[in-house]
């Protein structure tokens, strides 16, 4: 068939071109031993629905890297490269491979849990040290010695929230609205339910919603109202939470809402009437309005660079970069060392009682050998448009 031959030639030629592009793209693997640079990489969603979190980590990390490079011009410099993974496992592995091709030595990622678990298996196989700022699923660190989490694990947030609620609101009738298509939300709810059952406190009503944040919550809120829930646990990111607050207000249903670290950032939401968020509790390790001096310079630096207040993801990234940097300095290795050697040394550090005082924890953070972090989150309540520590 005549015309198909022509199409075949066109397609075959472009196929060769693309192979070349990809192949040479993969060439530059060796780390430039000349300068004294520690290459840190990260993968996160820079496009797609979760783009806000990927960009926050990218910017937060950049702030820390700029500070470090400025602080010691002749000492160990840091390079920061973030690749887009659209919060999808397959793309995250591709992005990770690209970073490896570009000579990454320490992996500060991935941002979302789904992507991170897929990549964690690769970093474990390639013996690359991994400290994820925000992938909070339990499976991220399970059975992998080289993977550490700077953020809480989902179930832990669930358990801590449950303990806090039972302790401070003993007679509250608790309902839950969670996103059954998001592993973060489902993970926290899992831990929460287990803890509430363990404590013997009954959950009055449980409702779920589909993945996109922009849906109708009347049905869920009605079922909460009918079940007489005066306390609603929302283990979700702040976009659906803001939607829930708006629709609840319209319905005239005003229970106390309790959210987790995902809710942070709701006050920075452009066009959101912050009065609706009054009295909302949230369990979060970081808040831009905290008074301590460390947070304030970070917030100021972030505001100057990106024109908006940093959210908790940015702070996590900032801490991760610093934690890796400090730990690396303590290992005494040269930046020309291979990723695997760095990994063994860093694992020894983190598992061996290395601690780091950062933005995202009141106390100094320590890590267990299993990869979990020991840090106490603070519970805040939004009053007068500000986070007030409880």
């Amino acid at each position: 068939m005549k015309k198909n031959w022509k199409k075949a030639v066109v397609v075959a030629v472009s196929c060769m071109m693309v192979f070349m592009l990809a192949a040479c793209g993969g060439g530059g693997g060796s780390s430039d031993a000349g300068e004294n640079v520690l290459k840190m990489g990260c993968t996160g969603p820079l496009t797609g629905p979760a783009a806000i979190y990927g960009n926050a980590v990218k910017n937060g990390g950049q702030i820390a890297v700029d500070e470090i490079n400025a602080a010691n011009p002749d000492g160990v410099q840091v390079a920061w490269q973030v690749e887009d993974d659209e919060a999808d496992g397959e793309k995250a592995v591709n992005a990770y491979n690209k970073l490896m091709d570009d000579g990454m030595q320490v992996f500060v990622g991935s941002v979302t849990s789904g992507a991170c678990v897929a990549v964690a298996e690769k970093t474990n196989a390639d013996r690359v040290f991994e400290l994820t700022p925000s992938a909070s699923q339990a499976a991220v660190t399970e059975g992998k010695d080289n993977v550490f989490q700077l953020c809480f694990r989902d179930p832990d947030q669930g358990t801590i929230s449950a303990d806090y609620i039972v302790e401070n609101f003993p007679d509250a009738k608790v309902g839950v609205i969670y996103n059954n298509a998001s592993d973060y939300s489902a993970g926290i709810y899992d831990g929460f339910k287990k803890e509430m059952d363990a404590k013997g406190v009954e959950i009055v009503a449980v409702e779920a919603f589909a993945d996109d944040a922009n849906t109708d919550f009347q049905a869920q809120l009605n079922s909460m109202k009918n079940a007489g829930a005066d306390f609603v646990f929302l283990p979700n990111y702040y976009t659906p939470v803001s939607n829930i607050l708006v629709q609840a207000d319209k319905m005239g249903y005003a229970p106390t809402f309790f959210g987790c670290d995902g809710v942070d950032g709701i006050l920075t939401l452009e066009g959101f009437d912050t009065s609706l968020a009054e009295g909302v509790y949230l369990l979060t390790p970081f808040t831009a309005s905290a008074e301590d001096e460390k947070t304030q310079n970070f917030v100021k630096a972030y505001m100057d660079a990106y024109g908006e207040e940093p959210n908790q993801f940015a702070a996590d990234a900032y801490d991760c970069v610093y934690a890796c940097y400090n730990a690396f300095k303590e290992t005494g290795l040269e930046t020309s060392a291979s990723a695997a050697d760095i990994c063994e040394a860093m694992v020894a550090q983190f598992a061996g009682g290395f601690s780091y005082e950062g933005l995202t924890a009141a106390n100094a953070m320590k890590w267990q050998a299993t990869g979990e972090v020991d840090k106490m989150p603070a519970v805040y309540v939004i009053e007068g448009g500000k986070y007030v520590e409880k």
Binding site: K2, V11, A22, G26, G89, N94, K98, A139, N179, G187
Partner: protein, 377 residues
């Protein structure tokens, strides 16, 4: 020899007659690209020329190739638009992962586990294909497409409420809530979190075998009596019925076989990553595979293969465009579609080609004028 009954009937004007689909040529090219590509890439990898990024994509490329070829069975050969192909992929992936975890309890010979899991995935997907097939038989055109889309969404939505896991060695299943008393390590599939802790067994060689098997099945089917029946119904439903073809049976056959092959591909995909989230198999993935088929040329096997390879690599090579990665992908998609399908541009491209290509001998489809003068007006 019985002398020819009718004097030589002059068959006028064969000059613009087009040769039919040459099975052998299509088969040789398709197999050639697959095996040639495999060997080329293995050599390049051995020589260390191929970076991690491309190497990591070998298995997904094979999966997308067999998905494109299996979708071509529905879109190209059966002539129906299916927008729910990712649904079958999902069924294949999760049932395959489940089977692999169960088998791992008792045996450890990975190739056997992989094959059994893929067959199980294919079986479950073909059951899904059958269930989807039944309502589809009465529908045509865009209504059929919307039903396939609906099924894709139903399967994805359904996956969010499935919970599988081992509780002290026994397989437990729960619907819509977590299984009581299950440790994290024993979870297989937990609702939205998807499959975790899968033992990755897929490799490039298995990917190639999957592609070869899929192409083998689809090309053979295309050149068998069943394939001819499916294609004849596509070309003219009424004529097909008038020569005794059971239209429903063959429409359904195309769907079920395509679903089974997609299930196998899905299973290999599932076993290539340690975790798999149901949201992955949404409408966008179905559309992605459809783009491979349409760009490769509907009904054209090796076209689909090349398109699947190129379009899987493209977004990765666009990484250097960083923020503009997906934007350039969208623009390339639109331009290529207009380029290959717009009559005006296509004729200009052909004109360009006929200039640079040397005058071909007669056998490229044009019938040389026969000297015998028998050619009628």
């Amino acid at each position: 020899m019985a002398e020819r009954i009718l004097k030589n009937i002059r068959i006028g004007g064969l000059k613009n007659a087009v040769k039919g689909n040459d099975y052998r040529k299509e088969a040789t090219i398709s197999y050639g690209i697959l095996i040639g590509g495999y060997i080329l890439l293995q050599i390049l990898t051995a020589a260390g020329l191929i970076g991690h990024n491309l190497q990591g994509q070998f298995v997904p490329i094979c999966v997308y190739i067999s998905l494109a070829v299996s979708l071509n069975l529905v879109v190209g050969i059966s002539g129906e638009l299916s927008l729910g192909h990712a649904g079958f992929m999902a069924v294949g992936a999760f049932s395959g992962i489940l089977m692999s975890r169960i088998l791992l309890q008792s045996m450890s010979f990975e190739p056997a586990i992989l094959i059994i899991s893929m067959l199980f995935g294919a079986l479950m997907a073909s059951i899904a294909g059958f269930i989807i097939g039944i309502p589809i038989l009465g529908l045509r055109g865009d209504y059929l497409a919307i039903v396939t889309l609906a099924f894709g969404e139903i399967i994805r939505n359904f996956m969010n409420v499935l919970y599988f896991g081992f509780v002290d060695g026994k397989l437990r299943f729960a619907f819509n809530h977590t299984i009581e008393g299950i440790e994290d390590t024993d979870r297989i599939i937990t609702g939205a979190i998807g499959a975790t802790g899968t033992k990755t067994m897929a490799s490039f060689t298995w990917g190639l075998l999957l592609c070869l098997f899929t192409v083998f099945i689809v090309l053979n089917l295309k050149n068998s009596k069943q394939g001819r029946a499916i294609m004849s119904i596509r070309d003219n439903r009424i004529a097909g019925e008038s020569i005794g073809l059971d239209v429903r049976k063959y429409k359904l056959m195309a769907f079920v076989v395509s679903a089974a092959l997609a299930g196998m591909a899905g299973c290999l995909f599932g076993l290539n990553y340690s975790t798999l989230v149901p949201i992955k198999f949404n409408f966008n993935t179905s559309v992605l595979v459809l783009v491979f088929v349409v760009l490769g040329g509907v009904g054209n096997m090796w076209g689909g293969i090349i398109a699947a390879t190129l379009l899987t690599i493209l977004p990765e090579t666009f990484r250097q465009f960083a923020d503009y990665r997906m934007l350039t992908y969208a623009i390339v998609l639109i331009l290529v579609m207009i380029g290959t399908y717009n009559p005006a541009i296509k004729s200009r491209v052909n004109a360009l080609f006929s200039k640079i290509k040397p005058k071909k001998k007669k056998d490229d489809g044009k019938v040389k004028k026969k000297k015998s003068g028998k050619e009628g007006a």
